[in-house]
């Protein structure tokens, strides 16, 4: 625990000392043959996120210390949190999109561990699985998008991609790439129609929500789009999809948030709203919009993390998070009340808190476009303000009545109230005293990273009485209205949404469809009839052989010169063996003739100077006969073979014939031309010199092509393990 706390501080300090507002890069070779290098890029945008990740991570770890106290797995919890923090930090520092993707997936995996931390509860496991499936599917889309992006730009390095925008813009892969990357970002940042995983993930312990769903995991999508915004921001699709998806998400999830009774779920939906709003702002890309987005990322991280922690403490104190049963918390959780109050003021957008500042610039940006986005933003902010009031006033200030649950005093644990309080005051002091620093080191450089052509304007707290300020007041008043008529509104929303299918239901339906498809195709392809498997395999082989043989040049002439008598005799014997095999009605006879055919083939190999191959063939034939004898002598109906139907026999004959003809045609065609002996010559020349061996076959196996052999023996061992398990299982079933 102590170590993980210090890791955060140490990383934060070292990053800050290396930081330079113009951006710094480090690069190490990683997979030079693929042109992938491990590069790290630290510019304004990365630094802004690093501050949030490390700073809030530090406070969350402190909070988790007392929150998880007494639980047996608390050490594991701190380790998971630290791992997640590392993954997230890697994501925002990556200077190469493939590195970025690796860390992206690592955040998905570690978040799965965190969301499902209470794995003794079924709902927790289910929601963690849902989160990893949704974000993992988005991750796959993102991978495809990033690879195409790298392909268009000719490099996976971020700075190189941004320099080569002209190559990307003119490529016909531009549109699919954009769609795939948007899919990745929308799933991660829980936009409609993937918004449902975020409220589902609320089954996680409070510190996880405070960390993942305020500052980090869900902001990864926003980060990605901000990072790639210079590449895509000129396209119409980018603008419209961000505006529509972000706007719809913000409005719809805002309405859903109002009908919740669980405070934590309310916060979760309001996180959806915030993410939608960020997408909305990114779409505009003007200097005010970007500045507002950056400021909002900071403000939201500060107040939402504090809120989640406070609600966690409330849960500890009251044993419930349902606001209908909560009252009078203000008297008992005094410190938490202050923290929640500051956060609510910031969320509602009351000066001089950071939320106010971001709202001010949001309106400025929207007014620069048209009235519709301004109206949408006013609506969203009114909902946000209303939610802030609901979360704080109802549980903390209202006097307890017969509905409310008895409360425990839990503030003797320092870290249950200190971290959210720190966040609250941090917000206050940053805007009051640290605004210049914030402008110069984080927001300005970050805005330039999002849109390089931008003139940045330092944020100012007081700009006189103007339209944005008035709009802020309007949304605040509307928020009060929302608060006043909350019961009526939530009842109304409940009426509407009850009839519509929820995202969760759709997810369940899709999952059911996938598993039904899987069992359907398993039933078709894995029926368990060995002879049908063999027929399928060999008919595919036969078709392929004929297909390729037909493309080969016709063998010129059959040259029978130099064929000696013993070869002819052997060939006759071979034919006889095969015909016996086909006609024999007894299994034992069949095995014998098959063995004979194999041994004659061995003799052929001996004649053609391939002693190693011949030996192997001989031994394999011997083993085959041993295996068959061992099996066959135990089988029932030993003397007679079960006969297939006439049709099936004809099909089998057809497949065998096509394979025979295909092999014959291919071989004669190849041997009648000149062979490319480059490889053979190389091995013959280098076998003794480079590998100290005279047996070329063996040298190829253990030296030149040792990697192949390693793969082959692994396959052999896997096959043996598989066969053993199958046989064991059969034995158990019989016994």
């Amino acid at each position: 625990m102590v170590i993980s706390v210090f890791v955060h501080l140490l990383l934060l300090l070292s990053l800050s000392s290396l930081y330079d507002p113009h951006g710094v890069r480090w690069q190490w070779q990683w997979v030079p043959s693929l042109g992938v290098s491990f590069s790290i890029q630290l510019d304004g945008l990365s630094m802004l996120f690093s501050w949030l990740i490390c700073g809030i991570g530090f406070l969350v770890q402190l909070y988790a210390y007392h929150y998880m106290k007494g639980k047996p797995s608390s050490a594991l919890f701190h380790i998971y949190l630290t791992l997640f923090m590392m993954a997230m930090l890697g994501l925002v520092l990556a200077g190469n999109i493939l590195i970025l993707f690796i860390f992206w997936e690592l955040t998905t995996i570690t978040s799965y561990l965190l969301i499902g931390f209470n794995h003794d509860q079924q709902i927790s496991r289910k929601n963690a699985l849902q989160a990893i499936l949704v974000t993992g599917a988005g991750g796959l889309a993102l991978l495809a998008g990033l690879i195409m992006l790298g392909g268009m730009a000719g490099s996976y390095e971020l700075d190189h991609i941004i320099k080569n925008i002209h190559l990307i813009k003119t490529s016909n892969l531009f549109l699919p790439t954009l769609i795939l990357i948007l899919a990745g970002a929308f799933t991660k940042s829980a936009q409609i129609p993937f918004h449902f995983w975020l409220p589902g993930a609320m089954s996680a312990p409070a510190p996880v929500s405070a960390y993942l769903h305020s500052a980090t995991m869900v902001k990864a999508g926003v980060y990605l789009l901000a990072r790639l915004s210079p590449v895509f921001c000129h396209s119409d699709l980018w603008f419209w999809s961000l505006v529509l998806v972000g706007g719809t998400t913000a409005v719809w999830t805002g309405l859903l948030a109002l009908k919740q009774t669980d405070l934590k779920l309310m916060l979760a939906y309001s996180t959806n709203v915030a993410l939608g709003k960020l997408m909305f702002l990114l779409a505009f890309g003007s200097r005010f919009a970007i500045a507002a987005a950056m400021m909002f990322i900071i403000a939201h991280a500060l107040y939402k993390a504090a809120f989640f922690m406070v609600i966690g403490t409330v849960d500890k104190a009251a044993g419930t998070r349902d606001y209908r049963h909560l009252a009078g918390l203000g008297g008992i959780l005094k410190m938490s009340f202050i923290a929640a109050g500051l956060s609510a003021l910031s969320k509602a957008g009351i000066p001089p808190l950071p939320g106010f500042l971001s709202k001010e610039y949001m309106y400025k940006a929207a007014l620069g476009v048209s009235y519709l986005p301004t109206a949408i933003l006013v609506l969203i902010n009114a909902v946000m303000a209303g939610l802030a009031f609901i979360i704080v006033i109802k549980p903390f200030l209202v006097k307890p009545d017969e509905n409310s649950v008895p409360l425990k005093s839990v503030e003797k644990y320092t870290f249950l109230w200190l971290p959210p309080l720190c966040l609250g005051f941090l917000g206050l002091f940053t805007t009051l005293f640290g605004l210049d620093w914030l402008n110069a080191t984080l927001i300005g450089p970050a805005s330039i990273a999002v849109n390089p052509g931008l003139e940045t304007e330092p944020l100012k707290l007081w700009q006189g009485i103007n339209l944005p300020l008035i709009l802020g007041g309007v949304s605040l008043l509307l928020g009060l209205v929302v608060y006043r008529y909350h019961d009526a509104i939530s009842g109304f929303i409940d009426q509407i949404t009850r009839r519509l299918p929820s995202g969760n239901d759709c997810f369940e339906k899709v999952m059911q469809m996938i598993s039904r498809l899987a069992s359907w195709q398993t039933g078709i392809f894995q029926h368990g009839r060995l002879s049908d498997y063999m027929l399928l395999l060999f008919s595919i082989l036969g078709v392929h052989l004929l297909w390729y043989a037909a493309a080969l040049p016709v063998p010129r002439t059959m040259d029978f010169h130099g064929v000696s008598l013993h070869e002819v005799i052997l060939a006759v014997f071979l034919l006889a063996a095969v015909i016996t095999l086909l006609l024999s009605a007894s299994r034992l006879m069949g095995i014998f003739s098959l063995g004979t055919a194999g041994f004659i083939t061995t003799l052929f190999l001996m004649f053609y100077n391939a002693p190693d191959v011949a030996k192997t063939q001989l031994l394999v034939e011997t083993l085959t006969v041993i295996f068959l004898v061992m099996v066959v002598r135990r089988l029932p109906g030993f003397a007679d073979t079960a006969t297939h139907s006439a049709v099936r026999r004809a099909v089998n004959a057809g497949v065998s014939l096509s394979i025979g003809v295909g092999v014959f045609w291919t071989l004669t065609s190849i041997t009648s031309g000149t062979m490319d002996t480059k490889l053979t010559d190389y091995f013959a020349a280098n076998s003794v010199i480079a590998a100290h061996g005279r047996n070329i076959v063996n040298v190829i196996l253990v030296d030149f092509r040792a990697m192949d052999t390693l793969g082959e023996i692994s396959v052999v061992v896997m096959a043996a393990l598989g066969a053993s398990t199958l046989l064991k299982k059969r034995k158990r079933r019989n016994g």
Binding site: N698, M707, T709, A720
Partner: protein, 133 residues
């Protein structure tokens, strides 16, 4: 009832076959032979032993489980490839000690192949025989 003559001669033949399989393994780099062929001969020897005695007898005689032998074979082959990494050469490059004995990592690799094939095939054979008895 197995004949006494078959059982007695089988044991003698098995000894010779096992010796021969090791011989093939060791000479494989220069003359026909090698790990794969050697292992198959060893398996055939043990198949003979199964026919002469019983599967249980063979299991007792080889002491280690065939699956374990197979997996350790792959492990040895993998390990032999790691030597090259220490000398900053690609994985699985042959490293030789020609000065004292004609030995090198390819031989170690071949021993791994021998054990992997031997263990894998023998484990299937034993399992089938035991399953049917």
């Amino acid at each position: 009832m197995r004949s006494v003559i078959f059982r007695t001669t089988a044991h003698i033949v098995i000894g010779i076959m096992l010796l021969f399989s090791l011989y093939l393994l060791l000479r494989g780099h220069n003359e026909p032979g090698g790990g794969f062929i050697g292992a198959l001969i060893a398996v055939i020897a043990f198949a003979l032993m199964i026919l002469a005695e019983s599967a249980e007898y063979v299991r007792q005689r080889i002491h280690f489980s065939p699956g374990l032998i197979a997996v350790s074979g792959v492990g040895i082959s993998l390990f032999s490839g790691l030597f090259a990494l220490f000398l900053n050469r690609p994985f699985l490059s042959g490293i030789w000690w020609k000065t004292s004995l004609p030995m090198g990592t390819p031989l170690l690799f071949d021993v791994g192949v021998y054990l992997a094939v031997f263990g894998a095939v023998l484990s299937i054979l034993l399992r089938i025989v035991e399953d049917l008895e």
